[in-house]
Amino acid sequence: MTSRNLSDKPVGVIGAGNFGSAIANILATQNKVILYARDNEVVQRIKETRENRGHKFHDNVTPTNDLESLAKQCEVIFPVVPAAHFRQMMRNISPYLYPYHILIHGTKGFDITLPEGKTVEEVKVLSRNQVKTMSEVIREESVVVRVGCLAGPNLAKELAQRQPSATVIASHFKEVVETGKRLLRNERFQVYENNDLVGVEMAGVLKNIIAIASGALSGLGYGENAKGLLISRGAVEMIYLGRALGGNIKAFLGLAGIGDLVTTCNSPMSRNFTVGYRLAQGEKLSQILMDMSEVAEGVNTIRIVKKCADYYKVRAPITERLYKVLFEGVTVQDALEQLMRYPLDVDIDFIQD
C-alpha cells in the first residue's frame, strides 16, 4: 500500500516554528520537503541563510509561502502551527485538499470556538461542543479523513542535535501510521503506533498543564521528591480529565502520556516549564509571555481545561490551583500549600481490578 513511488513526491510541513523546523529536518534526511511559513520574510531568510530558530536546514528543505502549491505537490502534510491559528490555517488550505491527502499534525493544544466577542471566562459553560482537538478541526474544516497526530517526548532542540528520541503516531488508519513511520523513522528516531487518536492528542495537550506546575516547583527550589509527587498525581489528573474529554486510559500510559510528561517536567528547555519557573520566581504572567518568542500552549490549556473540568465535574486540583496562580494573582507558594492540604484518598483508582 505504501509503495516506493510515494517517496518521489515531496512531503509538506506547515509552520516553521521550532518543532516544525525540527520535523522538516528529520523528514529531509530521506525525502524532499516543502516547508510553509506564514511570514514571507521568514521564507526569504530561510532561502538566504538556510537557518531558522537555530535549526540548520537540510538541502532537501524548500521553504514556501504558498499553501496551494504545497497541497498540490504533497500528498502527506505535517501541520505544526499553534492551536490558536490552526483552524484559520485549515480554512486557508482546505480548498486545495482532497480525500486522499494524509495530514499528521504535531500541535499540542485545544481549539476553542466562542461566541463573537466573548472570552473563555465570560461564557457560562465550556464543553466538548466548543473545545476540539486538532484532528477534529481538520475533519471539520476539510474533506481530509486520513488524519493522524504526532506526540511524545520530542524536545525540538534535542531532535536538532540528533539525540536518540521516539515519537508516537496515532491514527484510526493503519495507512497513516505506516506512512508516517516510513517517512520519519531513522536510526536516531523511533516511531511507535497507537490507534486512539483522541486519547493521544489529549495526553499531549494535558501534559502541558503539569509541565507548568513542574516548572513552578523547580522555581521554588524544591527537589526530586516533590517532582515525583507531582508527576504521579499529575498523571492521575490527566487521566481523569482525558477520560471526561473522550480519550481512553491506555494512551496516557504510553509515550504520549507518561513519556512526554516526564520529559517536559524535567526540562528547563520546555516553554511551559519556563512559564512555571518564572512565575515561582515572582514574575507576572504578562511579562513572561511578552519575552517568549513562541506560544506556551499550557497557559491557554489551563484556562480551557479549568472551565471544562467545572462542566464535567472532574476533580482537577492541580489545574485549578494553577489557574488561580495564572489569572487570579495567587502566589505559587500559597497554591502549593493548598494543594498539600488537599484531602487525598486512594493512590490509583482508575484501573479496575
Binding site: Y98, P99, Y100, V143
Partner: protein
C-alpha cells in the same frame, strides 16, 4: 376536537421505471443461478484470503460445524430446513476423514467449504417473482384500503369505497423527490430504524408508494417463522439474514451476496441496527457488517472503471426513520432489554406472535386512529457526505467531492480493508446522527418521556431496576405540573428543530392541553395495560412502568432530561 395530521400533499407517485422487466431486482432473479454462482465463487475466494493456511481453514470449518450443530440442538426454528442435521453430520464426517498432514489447502478442504457456502448462498437468496410480487402488492393494498374505509366511514357499505387511502394513515415526509431522483441516477441503499416486525411490511409498501422499483431486503430469518409474512417477504424480494449464524463462511457469503447485488445495481435495504431496538431508543450503535458492503461495492465499481473520468454508478445511502405511537411487541422487547441489561438471565430471540395475532393487530391498527410516519432522510454517499439531487457529494462548504478520491492511494484506486473498516464506522456514525435529526417526535413520545422522567426524579437514590419494581398504583403525576413541564420541554424541542437537530409531527404544535390529550390517547394505545392514563381527578397515572420506559426511551439521546 381531534387534532388531525395535515393532509399529505403527495397524491401518489408515478413509477420511475416502467415495467418490472427493467427492475434490477428482476434482472437478478432472472439470472439467479449465474448470480448465485458468482456469489459462491467470490465468497470462497474471500474466505481463503482470510484463512490462508490449511490449518486455519480446517479450524474454521470445525468451528462452523460445532456451532451449527449446537444451534440445531438448542435453538431450532420452524423455518429451518428438515435436512439440517443430516447435512452437518455429513460435513462433520468429511472433516474427520481429512488427512492430518499439513500439505497446503487441497481439493478436499475446498470441496467441503464449497458445500457449506453453496448451502448458505441458496438459503440466503431471495426469490423475486413478478407475478407473486404483483399479487402480494395488490392484495395488501386492497385489504388495507377496505379496512381503512370500513372503519372510518361508519356505514356497512363503506367497506367497498375508496375514500381513504393508505397514505392518509401513513405519512411519508422528507426528501422524497431526492430519493426518487437518486434511485434513477445510482443505486440506493435504504437504512431504516427498526422498532417492530411491522417495519418490513411497512417499508415495502413505502417503496412501492413512492414509485420505486422493488428493493432487495435483508430480512431477519425469524420473520419467516410467521407464515403470512414469509409469503409476502419471499415475493417482495427479501433475502434472509439469520442472526443465529455467526460463523465466518456464513457472514462472508451474506456480505458477498449484498455486495454483488449492489454492484449489479439492485437497490437494497438493510436494518443497520441488526434487530429491533430492544430498549425503544433510536439505534445508536449499528451493525457494520452489511453496511460495509456498500463501501466495498462502491470501491469495486471504481476498480472496474479505473480511468479517473469514467462514469461510475454511485451508491447512495438513505437513512429513514419510522415513527409509531404504538409498537405491538413493546412489552416483550423491553422485557428482553431489561433482562440483558440487568444481567439476570438471557432470553433467546423468540416471537410470541403468530399469524392470528398479527392480523388482529392489523385490524386494530386500521380501525382505530393510530398514525405512522415515515421520514426519508437526505441522500448520503458511502462516506456519509451529503449529496445533491444530481448525486454529487458535497463537503461542508458545498464544494463537490469526488467519492473516488477516498479510495485512492498513490494516485490509484486500491483495496485497503482496514481503511474501509474505518470508513464504515464513519458512515455508521453519520447514519445515527441523521436518525436523530430526521426523527419525527410524536406527542405520545413526549408525554411518555416527560412522565417517566418526572417519576424517576422523585426517587433520585434508586437505580433503574429498583425504580421499575416500584408498585405502579402509587404513582400519580399532578396534571398542572405535568402541563408546565410539557410546555417547557416542547419549547426546547421547537428550538432544536430550528437548529435542525430534530423534527416533529404536525399534531405536535397547538394548544398544550390538546396535544397532551392526543399523546395520552395514543401512547401504546393497544396494550393490555396502558402505559399512561388519566384518573378521575384528571391526574396522570401508569399501568405499566416497563412499557412506559420503552416509549420514553424514544427521546433519549437529545439531552432533554435536564429540562424536566
Amino acid at each position: 376536537m381531534e387534532i388531525v395530521e395535515k393532509k399529505n400533499k403527495n397524491i401518489g407517485y408515478e413509477p420511475i421505471l416502467d415495467g418490472i422487466p427493467n427492475w434490477p431486482v428482476y434482472q437478478l432473479s432472472k439470472n439467479r443461478k449465474e448470480f448465485l454462482e458468482e456469489v459462491i465463487q467470490k465468497s470462497l475466494a474471500r474466505i481463503k484470503e482470510l484463512r490462508p493456511t490449511r490449518k486455519q481453514l480446517v479450524e474454521e470449518l470445525e468451528a462452523t460445524v460445532y456451532r451449527e450443530q449446537n444451534r440445531i440442538k438448542r435453538n431450532r426454528w420452524r423455518v429451518d430446513p428438515a435436512d439440517e442435521s443430516n447435512f452437518w453430520s455429513g460435513i462433520k464426517n468429511a472433516l474427520v476423514e481429512l488427512s492430518k498432514d499439513d500439505t497446503g489447502i487441497t481439493k478436499k478442504e475446498e470441496e467441503i467449504l464449497r458445500r457449506i457456502v453453496h448451502r448458505y448462498a441458496y438459503e440466503i437468496a431471495g426469490n423475486f417473482k413478478p407475478s407473486s410480487y404483483k399479487f402480494a402488492r395488490s392484495f395488501i393494498q386492497f385489504w388495507f384500503r377496505r379496512l381503512l374505509n370500513g372503519s372510518r366511514v361508519k356505514k356497512f357499505g363503506a367497506i367497498f369505497r375508496s375514500k381513504y387511502a393508505l397514505r392518509d394513515k401513513i405519512h411519508i415526509v422528507g426528501k422524497v423527490k431526492m430519493l426518487r431522483k437518486l434511485a434513477k441516477r445510482g443505486t440506493v441503499v435504504m437504512v431504516p430504524t427498526h422498532f417492530s416486525n411491522l417495519d418490513s411490511v411497512l417499508i415495502g409498501w413505502v417503496i412501492h408508494a413512492l414509485g420505486l422499483p422493488a428493493f432487495i431486503y435483508g430480512a431477519g430469518l425469524n420473520l419467516f417463522n410467521i407464515k403470512i409474512i414469509a409469503y409476502f417477504m419471499n415475493s417482495l424480494g427479501a433475502y434472509k439474514v439469520d442472526r443465529r449464524k455467526k460463523n465466518l463462511p456464513y457472514l462472508e457469503t451474506l456480505k458477498m451476496y449484498s455486495n454483488i447485488a449492489l454492484q449489479k445495481g439492485a437497490h437494497s435495504l438493510f436494518f443497520p441496527g441488526g434487530t429491533r431496538s430492544r430498549s425503544g431508543a433510536i439505534e445508536s450503535r449499528l451493525r457494520l457488517g452489511l453496511l460495509s458492503t456498500s463501501i466495498e461495492a462502491q470501491r469495486n465499481l471504481y476498480l472496474d472503471n479505473p480511468e479517473p473520468g469514467a462514469d461510475v454508478r454511485k451508491i447512495f445511502v438513505v437513512p429513514v426513520t419510522l415513527n409509531y405511537h404504538f409498537v405491538l411487541e413493546a412489552p416483550d422487547l423491553i422485557e428482553d432489554y431489561l433482562h440483558v441489561k440487568g444481567q439476570d438471565r438471557y432470553f433467546a430471540e423468540q416471537d410470541n406472535y403468530g399469524s392470528f395475532q398479527l392480523l388482529r393487530f392489523l385490524f386494530k391498527f386500521f380501525t382505530k386512529g393510530s398514525n405512522i410516519s415515515v421520514s426519508i432522510g437526505p441522500g448520503l454517499d458511502v462516506l456519509g457526505n451529503y449529496v445533491d439531487s444530481d448525486g454529487n457529494s458535497l463537503d461542508a462548504q458545498d464544494r463537490i467531492i469526488n467519492t473516488r478520491d477516498y479510495f485512492i492511494s498513490n494516485g490509484k484506486v486500491c483495496v485497503d480493508l482496514q481503511r474501509e473498516d474505518e470508513y464504515t464506522r464513519m458512515l455508521g456514525n453519520k447514519i445515527v446522527g441523521e436518525y436523530h435529526r430526521i426523527n419525527r417526535i410524536f406527542a405520545s413520545h413526549l408525554v411518555a418521556f416527560i412522565s417517566f422522567e418526572m417519576l424517576l426524579k422523585r426517587h433520585p437514590k434508586l437505580d433503574l431496576f429498583t425504580f421499575l419494581r416500584l408498585p405502579e398504583e402509587e404513582m400519580e403525576i399532578d396534571y398542572a405540573t405535568f402541563r408546565e413541564t410539557f410546555k417547557r420541554v416542547r419549547k426546547e424541542i421547537y428550538k432544536m428543530k430550528d437548529e435542525g437537530k430534530v423534527n416533529y409531527a404536525t399534531h405536535f404544535k397547538g394548544k398544550a392541553d390538546e396535544v397532551i390529550k392526543h399523546g395520552l390517547d395514543n401512547v401504546g394505545i393497544f396494550h393490555l395495560n396502558r402505559p399512561l392514563l388519566k384518573n378521575k381527578k384528571g391526574n396522570i397515572i401508569t399501568r405499566d412502568l416497563n412499557v412506559l420506559y420503552y416509549y420514553h426511551n424514544r427521546l433519549t439521546g437529545y439531552d432533554l432530561e435536564k429540562f424536566i
